[in-house]
Symmetry: D4
Subunit: 168 residues, 8 copies
């Protein structure tokens, strides 16, 4: 059985509700993942260790969700050459502006692929991971093409329904 | 000879100075790329066409740099299943806040891997592209490990120099 | 029977509640419109096609409502010479700052007439469309003058009521 | 000879450099305009009077550029049923955020078609005015289609030049 | 009987709940005031007229509360030499940032004395009006000194109560 | 000879260039003032003492200019029943947003009449002080009416000049 | 019995709910503290006096929580050489941006150790005070090391639980 | 000879100009310090190691200066029970808003004592470190009292000079 391809990390279980959107996306595409709770500030050694070891276990993409002074994705990125995707979470009174800036404004040499704040971003983190994995997996590529087509059809259906309801 | 693996797109040559940081990074890692000027708003059909055709020519990652209401990365992402990296450029009086939000706040289903505003982000876009390509290219992986080590050594050297100058 | 003069587009039915304010305004002035669900990112070809064909069907003004990295109005504006009105919708944790900047900060050559964030903006999009159509329609002009007068009278009435209640 | 179709208003000659971008756009399309200095706060009666009388002189679109607590466009819009376009100008230490919000966040009933902050917005104000006038002027429509095509060709040329310089 | 010394204006009765804080403050100090509903955008002539006539009826201070692109205080200030106090109201999705900037960033020559956003600001508008009137009214001065002392005593009492509850 | 009617305070001589705009305004209206350097944080006792004693020396309005965490106006307002006008100064990298919020967001009971950030605000602080003093000084009232008329005429002249240059 | 080592000050009992987080942290570490209600603006003399006298009573660290134009921490810092910790509280419509900037942007010479906005910041203020006191108190140092370890173990436990629930 | 009491860390020598303000403050008070270049992202292991070992070498306070997604202070704080002071540096196009939020918005359990953005903050970091060390060093306490008095006298002198120049 295949080991996890994606490592999803969150700093606290209070971020779980948001990050479920990411897990659902990975599940939809049948991508095996592992979920880890590890904090940049409360368990830094464990977090670094996790990032340093991820590649050797076959993980290919890391996803980190964090709020406030969201350092988690950056701390992972500092320790690995794997692509790291960051999901800013709006868990402080500043509504995610803090998490967004703390995730995206990374210095030269250590990119974090930053997603939108909150649930949309969590879902998109999963999809970006799939897009990356699909580069060497034709089945995943096909699933992504189907997914894109279904999204497009979904829009057309919504359009038809709306017109049906209003117009006649 | 290998075709381009990365497609770098900018909406206008006024963004070229910033995006050179990206090209330099790709050059450092020996990753073949193609550079295209195409605008989401002034040449939309060409931009969509470019994104739709990129994969079949062997391009694996798209990078888009844009300022203001920066739609370029999103417009590319709408047309391809390749990973798309966005570089927000601070070319309006609002100092890049507009480009950052217009690039990163993508809706569900269409992620853009957003980098920091400006030159740091442009350089990191190149490095993230290398990280993605390295997943199936052990040579690139080794280069990334060397790059990370060199960065670390660079810090140590800077430290030694500074201490030499001040102290000793 | 007259065809639609205004094309109202929204990227998702989740924006419908806001955009109803726009439709109500158009209904109040008796302006025929068509309502379309089409997404800049989930159905890009359909959205571009819609914009390219709108003029030939007699549509004279386009209105687009979108949240987050709100590209919809800009994508329409890229494909048509019709005036395009954008309504930023506050549907992300960043409260509409993202949608506002992504709608208004358009580059040279492709204007989007941007309204206030949310319901006020949606209503005003309808009224601006009427103002544009009224330039060649004396009946609409008269309706607008009546509308302005009624607004003014409404303020006076509110004033009288308030004074009646408080004072005596 | 045709009277002015567009009324361009600025609150102070210090805004002239920005607003020249608007005038240039109108000149490019051969649209006759009138330029007026009138301030919402220093000459309020004159400003209101200007807006009230504009339509009867044949003016069809008003454009207002202002910085800081930019009330000019709103004050014009309060007095006319003509479409009013607002250009926020970054003339205070707050870099145009003040002018943008003071222009765009208009209450229900009185829309201002808001453009980007600064020179891009000023140019686009001119183009939007042309788009509105073109609805009843086939020559202007043709000019706009030519303009759009030229923009698109300009991108292709820039692309060719860049590729010539770098590669070939 | 004394005529009103303070003119309180709001653009819409939806701002009444906030502005009641202002009226309460004026009532506490026994300052006679008049309350008017008049909108900068829906009833501009009436609003200008109100401001132009206020002084001759004995009004000495104007207070205006408005949200969004809050032009009301500025429009009053343009028409009078009386001091004008502005209360920004958070009635849009942008949480009062728009109203604050649209009220405070007035151009040279036309000051608006801007208060905090919302209820605190509304109450303080009343108190500032009292402070201004007190400059020529020794009774009001005494009331303000008493008010300041009572505030100070209120803090001491709250302190005693809290300490009693916790410690003791 | 009349004593000073206005007390202008700045926390540091580095704010002097901005505050000169205020002094010039007071000079234009012939209002006697005193200028004091006193800091909320470096000389707190002196600052409090200054505010406590101002009224008894005949000062009627206080004006404070400060940047960063601009507490000066608030600290003065805490110690006096005189109206206090605050001028936020953009002397930090955050461009005056800090000074603006730290000046305007005063709690209930202690208003600060806040002006625009920087030179416009400094000039307007002087004019607001004149407006307040004019309530009991018919000569100042007349000067203010003349000033308003001159501003209005200045706009008309600027308009004529501009039209002369362009058109004629 | 030991006197209080930490002085916790809040401007109003409405900030008590937030500041309880701080008190709980101090209680957890067994650090004696005193709680005072005193306002920078409503009881300025008392607040200054409190700060001037704190050191002589053995207090070693001051903590101040305040919202809006949060001057409390700065006013304390102006009067003492003790370290002062500031907790910005989000009690205005501007969500704590005002309190954050008014607390952190202190001028040269008068630092305020600023914490995150709201409850996290209040709790961290208590912990920072403990860290400072621990420099001369080996028992507290040990407690802090235990605390850090417990936090780390807490993360591991949360991780185990989550994995147990999902996987197993 | 005494070992360093304060450890000053910066992520890159490009931050040196700002951090010199901190070193100057420590020099003025005769506090021995060590200066280290170490990056949270380019040399993470070294940075963590530095923080873990600082206390055992007698260092009592850590100061970290960083820009952009400023994680440095937080990464240090995660590894030590020493107080950590953070200086946000405005080295990105976002003018320090990113560095401020990424430094101050720390989660529960790991405080960073955040200073103002840029040079003022760097200087204040040095002074806060002195205030902390002074708690167990009466000489430093005396120096701080002298420093505060000198600041106060400096204000008085500036006041005298200004009055001399203008008045006399």
């Amino acid at each position: 059985m295949a080991g996890p391809k994606v490592g999803v990390v969150m700093g606290s279980t209070s971020d779980q509700e948001i990050m479920e959107e990411c897990l659902k996306a990975l599940d939809e595409f049948g991508v095996p993942y592992e979920l880890t709770v590890s904090s940049a500030h409360r368990s830094p050694a464990r977090t670094s260790e996790y990032a340093r070891r991820a590649a050797e276990r076959g993980v290919q993409v890391l996803i980190a969700g964090a709020g406030g002074a969201a350092h988690l994705a950056g701390v992972l990125a500092a320790e690995t050459i794997l692509p790291v995707i960051g999901v800013p979470i709006d868990s402080s009174p500043l509504q995610g502006f803090d998490a967004l800036l703390a995730t995206v404004q990374m210095p030269r040499g250590t990119p974090v692929a930053t997603m939108a704040v909150g649930k949309s971003g969590a879902r998109n983190a999963g999809i970006l991971a799939v897009q990356i994995l699909a580069l060497s997996d034709p089945d995943l590529s096909q699933k992504l093409r189907d997914f894109k087509q279904k999204m497009s059809q979904g829009v057309e259906e919504a359009d038809r329904k709306l017109k049906g309801k209003r117009g006649g």
